[in-house]
Amino acid sequence: MIPEIVARLQQKHRTMRYPKAAPPPMPDRFRGRPVVHTERCVAGCNNACEAACPTGALSASTPKTIDLGKCLFCPECAAACPHQAISYSDNYQLAARERTDLVVPRERDEIEAKGAALDEALRKLLGRSLKLRQVSAGGCNACEADSNVLTTVGWDLSRFGIKFVASPRHADGLLVTGPVSQNMALALKKTYDAVSDPRIVIAVGTCAISGGVFADRPEVCNGASSVVPVDLYIPGCPPHPLTILDGLLRLIGRIG
């Protein structure tokens, strides 16, 4: 027991104060919400940004848009543009209730004005106790890992009443990752059916929103919404834990 106490003193108390205090700082190279500086675009541009985008998230037609539901948050478009018209901000707040709200330049405050929280009745039911069954459906395990990290002492997800549970029978909803491979489509549907109503579905990561880098392959469905109705989209490849937490807390009305 004594060595454990000594170790505990050495390791210190590590749970972050967020959301009561400021969130942990993002690294300076963090690629958060992308910004398109359309004023820097020049006429007759060869649209190298569009060609460089691996998933067709970026559309160079006017107005230029980036679909965060398809975006891998990779450095390619920003690097391809000779006019520095595209950059990534450190804004980690990416989640939205509606798929159409994931398209930049849709303004963040415009999305927030709609409110990300569940309706009053659901919030009463789930706002203080949200149990989620995680279903990995063709994901690369990065979204799974950075969802799971929220349960570590640093983030301590359970202080918000949110927990990952072992069975869909214990759950209020699903947190889906991956593009939903054909081989997982039935398992996802059955898991969803095993959750009692009312239930919610959260799609975490670009794959779960649109199929991501695997989109349009015959081996995958293009995201969770092709099998189950989705209530919250959290973009990223993978999303930063803070992006996921921000989305979850908005959903249950703890912030925003």
Partner: protein, 510 residues
């Protein structure tokens, strides 16, 4: 000196050769050479099918690794028709490869002891080994499983959706009371068709597919791909780029190893190490994010070097964080070794004897835990490992304890390596431009990922496009090792055995 296949072409890690210099042997000679090579100590790094220029034929390619001589041996053979004699009974290492070829190309290995699909997907050709019609739905893990019969024998089926936040897979145990007689593992739920998508590349998607082959192994797979690209273009990454790739690879290893030790502690209900390590793993991921913006190293490794250079300030920050991490990890993990109630759950559980590890062709920490000094960074070095050495960590007992302890040794070696690289980072550019892939070449790259050998083989056509791109994740070699480790164990020890291997489902399923 050795009796190794002399009819195979010799190449080294990260090298390409003209496609016509890869000998197309008579099938019998090809198979005899594989068996002779494996008997002589080679490992089967890859065995895969591809289109053949001959009518009604499929071309099989084999890449053997001769670790003692730092050599790779490659050859091909044509199989005409839809069947060929299986090698599995003579060479267990090809078991899964032959099943994969059967599934992808509809070629039946005659005499294969357990011919089942690997990923439950349709054949790439119009042949199907299991005579399924084109409109028949293929359901994963549906089919025969190995069964043990007896009055008190019962079957336990688990998955694909598990209790934790993990990937899907199906496990079928044959139990007698608490004792597991046999475990069969059925995967394929994560199959996304990556090898097919890579055909005709490289294109804008290619590097991103590499980074999402297995999310926690992004750096190792991206590095293998970049080495293949550089070999096909006939150029090399910059010295600075190679050193930074080495840092990226070791950070990736550290993060997962620390997480694994924590998860193992959690599984035996020793919570201090579990909760400390969960947090420390995040600190390592944040070091990767400090250097490239992504906790998983996305966007960092690129053909020609790395996409993100470092400055002195960033290096100072990294060094400071590494010092703190080392101290925290040491306190957290040494606590575990000193706790006898935890150790008794690790020792003599899930043991894989060294001879079995050799026979199955296990790689990475699972192999090193049995005493096999097998590590690509030393045996088949490429990039920074050509000049910087990293000790090979081994244990002898081959059990859960050994697999955990090897990881702790490797964490310490990785920290020392990263420090060494920070102090002696080569000057110059972090990245150079890489020309297009040359036509009709054959290239192989091996990287020691956190689970062991990651093998990429590329074949290009007349216009330098991939006509075949083979990926073998370490997990493809090691899943049979986990199945073996469960024999005669208690079923309640499955979680710690599983975590002690920590294999990738998506890396296997592609």
């Amino acid at each position: 000196m050795s009796a190794f296949p002399t009819d195979f072409v010799r190449l080294t890690n990260g090298q390409s050769v003209a496609l016509d210099s890869v000998p197309v042997l008579d099938l019998e000679c090809f198979q005899a050479s594989i068996v002779a090579g494996v008997k002589g100590g080679c490992r089967v790094s890859a065995l895969f099918g591809a289109a053949s220029p001959q009518p009604d034929a499929t071309r099989l390619y084999a890449v053997l690794a001769d670790d003692n001589q730092n050599l790779l041996l490659a050859a091909a053979a044509d199989v005409t028709g839809d069947a060929y004699p299986s090698l599995t009974r003579q060479c267990a290492q090809v078991h899964m490869f032959e099943r994969e070829i059967a599934e992808q190309f509809g070629l039946r290995p005659e005499g294969h002891p357990w011919l089942k699909p690997v990923r439950y997907r349709r054949s790439w050709t119009d042949r199907d080994v299991w005579q399924r019609s084109a409109d028949e739905t293929i359901l994963p893990a549906v089919g025969d499983f190995y069964r043990v019969d007896g009055e008190q024998v019962h079957e336990v089926a688990v998955g694909p959706v598990h209790a934790g936040v993990i990937e899907p897979g199906h496990f079928r145990f044959q139990c007698y009371g608490e004792t597991v007689f046999h475990l069969e593992i059925a995967l394929g739920y994560q199959h996304r068709g990556i090898e097919e998508t890579l055909l005709g590349g490289p294109d804008a998607r290619t590097i991103h597919l590499m980074e999402t082959l297995a999310g926690d192994t992004s750096v190792a797979h991206a590095t293998a791909y970049c080495q293949v690209s550089e070999a096909l273009a006939g150029c090399a990454a910059t010295a600075r780029g190679q050193a930074l790739r080495g840092i990226a690879l070791e950070l990736e290893r550290m993060a997962t190893h620390i997480g694994d030790i924590g998860a193992l502690s959690g599984d035996v209900a020793y919570l201090p190490t579990a909760s400390f390590c969960g947090r420390i793993r995040g600190d390592v991921l944040n070091m990767t994010a400090l250097l490239c913006g992504s906790r998983f190293g996305r966007g960092w490794v690129r053909p020609g070097g790395v996409g993100f250079d470092v400055d002195a300030k960033r290096m100072t920050d990294l060094r400071r964080r590494l010092d703190a991490c080392e101290k925290d990890a040491r306190v957290a993990i040494e606590l575990l070794w000193r706790t006898s109630s935890a150790m008794v759950r690790f020792e003599e559980v899930g043991a894989v004897p060294r001879a079995i590890a050799v026979e199955l062709g296990l790689v990475g920490p699972a192999a090193r835990a049995t005493g096999l000094a097998r590590d690509i960074r030393r045996d088949q070095p490429s990039g920074i490992f050509n000049t910087a050495q990293i000790p090979v960590a081994t244990c002898k007992t081959g059990d859960v304890y050994a697999r955990a302890y090897v990881r702790w040794l490797e964490i310490q070696h990785s920290i020392a390596f990263i420090r060494e690289q920070i102090n002696a980072l080569p000057e110059g550019a972090a990245r150079t431009s890489v020309t297009a892939c040359a036509s009709e070449r054959f290239a192989v790259a091996l990287v020691e990922g956190l689970r062991g050998e990651v093998c990429h083989v590329a074949i290009t056509d007349a216009s330098g496009r991939f006509t075949r791109y083979k990926v073998v994740d370490a997990s493809f070699h090691n899943w049979p090792g986990l199945a073996y480790a469960l024999r005669d164990e208690e079923i309640s020890d499955f979680p710690i055995c599983n975590k002690s291997f920590n294999l990738s489902y998506c890396g296997h399923d592609l």
